[in-house]
Chain length 361, copies 2
DNA sequence: TACGCCATTTTGTACGTACAAGTTCAAATA
DNA sequence: TATTTGAACTTGTACGTACAAAATGGCGTA
């Protein structure tokens, strides 16, 4: 899908969406675009041709190419539509979050447009661009790779320029300071780790995904718990990974760690339940019993935690409630009941749910 | 106006209008057209490109260019939005179905509007009304209470009047005969029951939700399996319930049945995995072990089946594949590659997945 | 000042080439 | 027999060239 003419097309579309060109304003001539993109005129014409067909531009022979006046750019009447952008749609706790938002919004007569980024910055850009082209009243967004530099900030600023309110859940981009609903992940990581320490564990390994803020914060809590209890943190104590690696790296590193000679860790703190479940395969393979030989704490208290072979001790995530309250907050802003500048961030306190995957040493 | 590409375009259009090429029939290849009109390939592509845009033709890379089936007047402006109406959004297998549709549709540049009916006819009406008010290109619908009289048929006829194509999944309203993707639930119920019969079970109880066609068909299969194996069907052999009762009635009736004096059933066929899981609580309560004391077959092969205490023998449901193929079928209709009148229904064959919840008597 | 002319710029039409990518089907291979 | 390979054909992307047709604006002339 990443052809040259598509690149040209998307770039020009982004100029329109971001307001760099106003309706009826002339854009660069074909020859200038040829220069600008270093492609042939044929390619430029192909890109422009499609944009004309889709109603973004119109051409006049001899005069130039112009930005079309798009009826729905002037947002007079509302379609009562809310966009929801999450990293995933069908996996893990996301269906529950979406359900919370959906049930509230539909009870208020709003429709939901769904989009997912698969935790790819590039896809987040596509989502935002698409949604900016529609007449939506507001957005609920779960940030993509919130711990890394995000090149889509322009689109968020564009949302604000277009007076489209949005709230963020699970994490926020620190540069934006939008209204948000998050967990206190630092405290969650602390509680999970402290639970193991209080149960007598001295060698605990933590596995965290560090390309989003949730993982980074959970790791911070993990470190603080160690500090406060005078437990050392060795290089092998923390295994970090990113989205691409989540299917193999934690498993592989843990396997190496547990099969190494010397003293073996007796406790594991996991980034989330999904990782914890996948690590159960590793412990089974190494003939280590959970929790007799090794204790394990998950995070999010998802369905998986209760449905797995060994029911997981985990940290509760508000899920449906977060979705519902995010929707409520968004509608408050849309209806003028609240002001996005002064709205205090909602922070949910984590709670430990003790099940069968942890025990005293 | 009498340019070369216009001549080519009008000539090809006339072939269609005069019926020299039928819908879905391949027209000359680009090279043949180059020969035929003595023009360059560029000119041919320009002509065909416009005809594709106007909905007269469609192209398939590697196969050729085809005459579109066009009953559509090609609405002026498309927002590239597809509505998805399901009974539930976040529960059970629905996230997987939605993901399949979402990933395909978003790769084709479409957005998704989600709505759920919670299996309430009244809410289905609201959904359809809302969606009819938006400029959507098509709909994927999972019928609500498909086994009962549906008072929203008018809205579906309205969809057809507005030339908004739709496909149905999981079940169809028999009066409408829309393009559909369903499972052979009768066969599924038969296979589930036969599996128990073949394992030596003689007293089998079936629990079915009978306000949707899936449940009714699964029950039919259950009955046929009994007939074909000369097993009697007593009043207590089948427990039926509807959506409102699903939280308590199957559990309560099974509890009564199992605690009654006399011979106890040794096998249970469930409407779906959700019910099966909830019945595990009943058997545990009555101190009956699964599968040692009683075998149990679920349906849909959901995540639950593999994640539960006792891993469930179940019937496979296509889930993501069904979502994806429903989306594909819908786009084919929208683009004129297929027409709703002649499109054959897709019926998935059920498959038995044997796990730990069943064994020989 | 008003008008016509013309060079310049811009999009439109039309030709050409080359290679990539997907489909089909028959021949070769295991 | 079933599977793989590959040639042939189809549409897709991308480069190039040339000239036509429409709009614009500056210049000289009436």
């Amino acid at each position: 899908m990443t052809t040259k003419y598509n690149l040209v097309k998307e770039t020009i579309k982004s100029w329109i969406v971001e307001g760099k060109v106003a309706p009826h304003q002339k854009i660069m001539s074909e020859n200038e675009l040829v220069e600008h993109f270093s492609v042939s005129r044929h390619t430029v014409r192909q890109a422009i041709g499609e944009l004309v067909n889709e109603g973004w531009l119109y051409r006049e022979q001899g005069r130039g190419t112009f930005c079309a006046y798009r009826e729905h750019l002037r947002r007079k009447h509302t379609d009562k539509m809310i966009g929801i952008v999450t990293t995933y749609i069908s996996d893990y706790i996301f269906p529950s979050i979406i359900r919370g938002a959906e049930s509230f919004l539909s009870s208020k007569g709003y429709s939901i447009i769904l989009a997912s980024t698969n935790n790819q910055i590039e896809e987040e850009k596509n989502c935002l661009q698409t949604l900016l082209g529609k007449n939506i009243d507001g957005l609920i967004i779960e940030p993509t790779r919130s711990a890394m530099y995000n090149s889509n900030l322009d689109y968020y600023l564009q949302l604000e320029a277009n007076q489209i309110p949005y709230v963020m859940i699970n994490a926020t981009y620190p540069q934006l300071q939008p209204p948000s609903l998050t967990m206190d992940d630092e405290l969650g990581g602390y509680i999970a780790t402290k639970h193991l320490i209080d149960s007598g564990h001295k060698q605990i390994v933590g596995l965290f995904k560090t390309d989003d803020l949730q993982g980074v914060n959970r790791m911070k809590g993990f470190v603080r718990a160690h500090r406060e209890h005078q437990l050392p943190i060795t290089p092998s104590t923390i295994i970090s990974f990113n989205t691409e690696e989540k299917e193999w790296k934690p498993q592989q590193e843990l396997r190496e760690l547990l099969s190494a000679k010397g003293s073996r860790p007796t406790g594991i703190v996991c980034y989330n339940d999904q990782i914890a479940i996948s690590l159960l395969d590793v412990t089974r393979e190494l003939k280590l019993r959970v929790p007799e030989d090794i204790s394990m704490v998950g995070y999010d208290d998802s369905l998986l935690a209760e449905a797995s072979e060994v029911k997981l001790t985990s940290i509760k995530h508000p899920q449906t409630i977060m979705g519902e309250e995010a929707a409520k907050m968004l509608l408050d802003i849309i209806e003028g009941k609240a002001d996005r500048q002064t709205l205090p961030p909602v922070v949910y306190k984590p709670e430990l749910v003790i099940r069968k995957s942890t025990q005293r040493v």
